[in-house]
């Protein structure tokens, strides 16, 4: 249960300088002296931005897409108020009240009588469908938000696509994630219904550097520096006020938010395991063992594409080269990936049903995710992967303080 210090520190940084010391601190404060962990056990809930975006991804997550059932705008407001109250409590921890003889227990008890914060983060986003006729929000839609496109190599299953609201739960322990999901689902019963859900897990560094995905390759090496607040403001967060480069034209309520793309990508791992290491490496563009680009020796070496115009070292069609050609023209498409692995059993032919719960954040869907994905169309790797679900969402601005709620600026 004790966390590596690295995770604790990067998590705290990720929330940003604007974060208000909120309820999240109180559990740790109250337990100081009795708790052997000196590090804060809670990720602050209140802040300009939501947690769970630029902070380091802990080991476990679940991504749920909700459809809102509320009849009207007041019902939607009730949903966001409830989500806020539950997230505020769950991320801060505490003792759930005992209802006496008046009701069944308030809490599932999965985490014991006192709910520890366990560095839980809850991240709420809204999908394009929330801005339809139901809640009178059509004119409030983030201008770049649309239903997720179907790309040429996608095989979308409608049961696993889209949704009015996305809620991502992340924590170092799976029971914390499940406890929070059950709590939120129970308290929003009747206001929203789960449309689809995917659990994710993240591997530790093997043996070092960026964690590996289920193909055995390090995944996420070339992410922008998420501890660099200016870089995040430039690429990930929408800002307030006047024309701000590529985020121009966005309604002012979106300030502090970010576009979230969720892609459920099945990997054909049995097939993958039947091809040679060198073929795998050419498909990806990196060494499987070290994660180094095929023209380098260390994971974080920068590929020298200019010196390799025909792709003799790193094939022009390799995944990393298509995704991020590292040119002045491609630089604006850089986005922040925060992927998890998923595992949902076995398919109809007895193959393992596993893959990537891909999540990424950006200021502009077209300029960033869609530009990258367009470059990846028909990459040779598509034979081994099948994107079948997910959606586009807009991660709401952070909940500023104890009086604020998710979506306050949206519904104002």
């Amino acid at each position: 249960m004790k966390l590596p210090r690295r995770q604790v520190l990067t998590g705290a940084i990720g929330v940003g300088a604007g974060a208000v010391a909120g309820a999240g601190a109180t559990y740790a404060a109250a337990h100081a002296g009795t708790d052997e962990r000196p590090e804060p056990d809670a990720v602050p809930f209140h802040g300009v931005h939501q947690a769970g975006v630029v902070d380091a991804a802990p080991k476990h997550s679940t991504m749920v897409s909700l459809d809102v059932l509320a009849d009207d705008r007041d019902g939607l407001r009730e949903l966001f108020t409830t989500l806020t109250a539950r997230a505020r409590f769950l991320t801060a921890g505490g003792t759930p009240p005992d209802p006496g003889i008046a009701a069944p227990p308030h809490d599932s008890g999965v985490l014991g009588p006192d709910v520890p914060p366990d560095r839980l983060t809850i991240t709420v986003g809204v999908g394009a469908s929330l801005f339809d006729h139901r809640y009178g929000l059509a004119t409030r839609k983030p201008v770049r938000l649309s239903p997720m496109r179907t790309f040429p190599n996608d095989a979308p299953d409608p049961a696993w696509c889209h949704g009015d609201v996305s809620v991502q739960f992340c924590a170092p322990n799976a029971d914390t994630v499940i406890h929070a999901l059950r709590d939120v689902a129970r308290h929003t019963r009747g206001l929203a219904q789960i449309r689809w859900r995917m659990d994710g897990f993240r591997s530790p560094p093997r043996p070092s550097g960026t964690p590996r995905n289920l193909m055995g390759f390090k995944d996420g090496t070339s992410n922008p520096d998420r501890t660099d607040a200016r870089e995040m403001d430039r690429r990930i967060w929408l800002s307030a006020g006047k024309a701000t480069g590529q985020a121009a034209g966005e309604p002012s309520w979106t300030a502090g938010g970010s576009y979230q793309v969720v892609r459920l990508i099945r990997m054909r791992l049995e097939f993958w395991d039947r091809i040679s290491t060198s073929e795998q490496e050419k498909l990806i563009g990196r060494r499987r063992d070290t994660g180094a680009p095929l023209d380098g020796s260390g994971e974080f070496d920068t590929p020298k594409y200019a010196e390799d115009p025909v792709g003799s070292a790193i094939p022009l069609t390799s995944h990393i080269r298509r995704a991020n050609p590292r040119t002045a023209k491609s630089d604006p498409s850089l986005l922040l990936r925060r992927p998890y692995n998923y595992d949902r059993g076995v398919d109809a032919v007895g193959d393992l049903d596993m893959g990537l719960l891909f999540v990424c954040y950006q200021r502009d869907l077209a300029r960033q995710f869609e530009a990258v994905q367009t470059r990846l169309v028909d990459e040779p790797l598509v034979d081994y992967i099948t994107p079948f679900g997910g959606g586009y969402f807009f991660t709401l601005p952070g909940v500023r303080d104890a009086h604020d709620t998710y979506g306050r600026t949206l519904l104002a």
Partner: protein
């Protein structure tokens, strides 16, 4: 209503967590025995706190924290064995409190009244406990409802047998639905009618040969045959058996006791089964009428609520919310019924299905507290 309560929860946590010396302030050990009840609570304060209830006597005891004026219960711990200590968590507002001890085999004993003069104005809600006597009228009302429903049930089960014997499949299917809904409206969930309930309304699950098992009887057996092209002659046996079983049920009902505790449980258990078997479609043996069953189950739930209403009024503030939620659910289900046919669950659009499942979940959350607060408790 739920949301307001939730916001309150957040505030409680903050208050409790901000307390710099939580242990010193919020834990009080009190002793109980046949002779004393709640001694040791000498420095009362409001707010969230834990009583460590220590049984120093020789009898296992139930211990409650009550409002001495009304007997309303704020918190309870069950079955505190001699020599053991059990935590009782409660949030106290300003007011008067007393511990009440109910040791096994001896009379209840109420300790001295303690007055809380600080902390929040109002604490956790208290509920006046329900005694067996309180539920007697409710049980009578509910049994009268069931008895009144027996007439149509017998008549319609007899009509079903007639139509099966006539060999008219379409007519038999119509008669089957009518009779089945009569039965489902009774709110027979989780063993209300004992073994007969199995014979009358079981599903093939759990039988070694499933739908072809010799012990598969009742409504769903006939449904399976009517909608799977079995010969009408082959269904005469099951239809006759159903008529006999329903006759036995009706004939014996007067002699069957209804456990008063069953009724509050039924408030949510009927729809728990609806969600599990009807709204999933698992109960469907071919007729595609599980939404009709669900609608009948709403009526069954309403009958339970109506019987319990005198007990719940004043005890359950969420009652009108539960009523409204059932109304919403009934309306959504009715929208799937036209010209004598019901939409099979599999034909619902995704949005319709989410709406129905969500409305059922909402009703269940609002009905569940009834089972807790109307449970029969010892009061003396």
């Amino acid at each position: 209503m739920r949301v307001r309560a939730l916001v309150g929860i957040g505030a409680v946590v903050l208050l409790a967590a901000c307390d710099s010396t939580p242990k010193a302030r919020s834990e009080t050990t009190v002793e109980v025995s046949r002779a004393v009840c709640g001694s040791g609570w000498s420095d009362p304060h409001g707010g969230t706190q834990v009583f460590r209830v220590h049984n120093v006597g020789t009898n296992t005891a139930e211990v409650e924290l009550v409002d001495p004026a009304t007997g309303a219960v704020y918190a309870e711990v069950d079955g505190v064995a001699p020599g053991t200590t059990r935590p009782m968590q409660v949030r106290l507002g300003r007011g008067r409190y007393a511990f009440k001890c109910l040791p096994e085999d001896t009379d209840a004993l109420t300790g001295s009244t303690v007055t809380v003069r600080d902390g929040p104005a109002r604490g956790a809600p208290a509920v006046v406990p329900v005694g067996e006597q309180d539920l007697r009228d409710a049980v009578t009302t509910y049994r009268a409802y069931v008895t009144r429903s027996f007439g149509p049930l017998r008549r319609d089960v007899a009509a079903l047998e007639r139509e099966v014997r006539s060999g008219d499949r379409a007519a038999a299917r119509r008669a089957w639905l009518t009779a089945h809904l009569d039965y489902e409206r009774l709110g027979a969930a989780y063993g209300t009618f004992g073994d007969l309930a199995d014979a009358i309304d079981r599903l093939p699950a759990g039988l070694p040969d499933g739908a072809h098992d010799k012990d598969f009887t009742g409504f769903h057996r006939i449904e399976y045959g009517l909608w799977h092209g079995e010969s009408m002659t082959a269904l005469r046996g099951p239809a006759g058996r159903l008529r006999t079983d329903v006759g036995t049920l009706v004939g014996g009902f007067d002699r069957e006791q209804t456990d008063p505790n069953d009724l509050p449980l039924r408030a949510h258990e009927i729809l728990e089964a609806t969600l599990e078997f009807e709204l999933t479609g698992a109960a469907d043996q071919g007729s595609g009428s599980t939404l009709a069953t669900a609608r009948a189950n709403v009526d069954g739930t309403r009958a339970v609520l109506s019987a319990l209403r005198p007990v719940l009024t004043g005890r359950y503030r969420g009652l009108s919310g539960a009523d409204a939620s059932l109304d919403t659910l009934a309306k959504l289900l009715d929208a799937q019924h036209s010209g004598g046919t019901w939409t099979p669950v599999a034909d619902l659009s995704r949005a319709e299905r989410e709406r129905l499942d969500g409305a059922t979940g909402d009703a269940l959350e609002r009905l569940a507290p009834i089972a807790a607060l109307a449970e029969v408790r010892r009061t003396r």
